[in-house]
Amino acid sequence: MKPVEIAGVWKFYGDFPALRDITFDVEPGASMALLGRNGAGKTTLLRMLAGLSRPGRGTIRICGTDARDRMTRRSIGILGHGISLYEELSAIENLRLFARIYGVEDADAAASEWLERTGLEKVRDGLVREFSRGMRQRLAVARAFLHSPSVLLLDEPFTALDDRAIALLQSLLRDAIAEGRTVVLSTHQLREALELATHVALLVRGRLAYTGERTGEMLEDTGWLYRQYGEPQSVTA
């Protein structure tokens, strides 16, 4: 059973096909970097993997079941564009809330543990609206990892992170991959993504232009993949 299986997936916004016949799998313990320019369909695909949107055609299976299955959603951790935290609640209240929703047996202990792991234990009772951007991002990372998901879906996870939060996230992702968890992340930050990735998928205007293992060539020259399989760059005077 593969953690992520995508077969013949199309997604339409009105008549416009945002994704066209996407098919690929992600192996257990793999880290898939989902690459592509703005509007390529990365976020759309990640939203469908997270069960936030339904495919127009085709099937998406997470751990062998439908992405909207309740038990399947327990095994997914998502870090999207927004931090998905409540400004009026404190850090501990936010984590406790999501731990309870995810059915974590000892929600208080899990919330406290993740506040400590993200270096936020001193501000545990502080309201999120009073936090700096970096603190919010670290708390968002804690929320995504809180229930120890076996599949992590990350949409532009390094965007707007400060150095400390980037280091924390990279360390957590390395640990997660080492533990056999599966990671799918979309990003424009090729260097960070390719260092973590074991596999790469390149989307070009909603089509899958390339999928396969991340090679040393890609790491040495981060623009190589786009030059080989991406759209030709338009040259302006």
């Binding site: 257990p28 927004g82 998905s84 400004e87 009026e88 059915g103 599966t182």
Partner: protein
């Protein structure tokens, strides 16, 4: 490679009401900290009560006869302010995505939100009642418990329908306008029954067979719309 085990999880069948109560607690806590919807709703309700008391002569018998209707108009208008915020507060920081992606049925999310809205709207109503009593010279405490029951049933109908449409209109630019436009026509049977029942109760009039029919209508409305909403909310939220 087998996927790694996560922390111990609770049995799913036990978690429906736990999740619903967690969502309700979260909404109430957030609202009590900001008091955005609550203050607006209180202020709006008191202003309408005052304006109605100026527009209609409160001591006249005819006005007293329609006082139940006036009271429910106030509740419905003030309630729209609370209901509008219900799902709109989830838009900040993409919190709604996190809730939809979580292993929680749409029904649990809906029930939690409806319970929170019910508590908030009930609070507004029970502050409005004494003001209403003073402005309309009505001794509304004569049949307090039957009145409280009718208000609870009417408020439940209002919040159930309002919460569903709050979810449906959350991504619309004109949601503040669209919510009342969509909700009020559907609420006509509920408001009609609640108005018919409330009038005699606040005036201390005896219970009649016609009122019994209205009570059945109100209960049926609540049951039907609660069941429909719980069944359809998942479709409303995931597109």
């Amino acid at each position: 490679m087998n996927p790694p085990a996560g922390p111990p999880m609770k049995a799913p069948h036990l978690s429906f009401f736990r999740q619903a109560s967690t969502v309700a607690w979260k909404d109430l806590r957030s609202e009590l900290r900001t008091k955005e919807a609550l203050n607006a709703s209180f202020a709006f309700a008191l202003v309408i009560l005052l304006l109605f008391s100026i527009a209609f002569e409160p001591t006249e018998d005819e006005t007293r006869q329609i006082s139940g209707g006036l009271l429910w108009l106030v509740f419905a208008f003030a309630g729209a302010l609370i209901l509008n915020r219900s799902f709109a507060r989830e838009l900040a920081n993409d919190c709604l995505d996190a809730l939809i992606a979580a292993p929680m049925s749409g029904a649990a999310l809906f029930l939690g939100k409806t319970l929170a809205n019910f508590v908030l709207l009930s609070a507004v109503e029970f502050v409005c009642l004494p003001v209403f009593g003073v402005l309309y010279n009505v001794s509304w405490t004569h049949q307090f418990w039957p009145l409280a029951g009718v208000i609870a049933l009417g408020t439940w109908g209002l919040t159930v329908v309002g919460t569903v449409f709050s979810a449906l209109t959350v991504n619309l630019r004109l949601r503040e306008l669209m919510l009342p436009m969509l909700v009020y026509p559907i609420l006509i049977p509920c408001l009609l029954a609640a108005m018919q029942l409330t009038g005699p109760l606040v005036l201390g009039d005896p219970y009649t067979a016609e009122l019994s029919q209205m009570l059945r209508l109100l209960v049926a409305f609540d049951v039907i719309f609660s069941a429909l909403s719980l069944a359809l909310i998942e479709t409303v939220m995931v597109r």
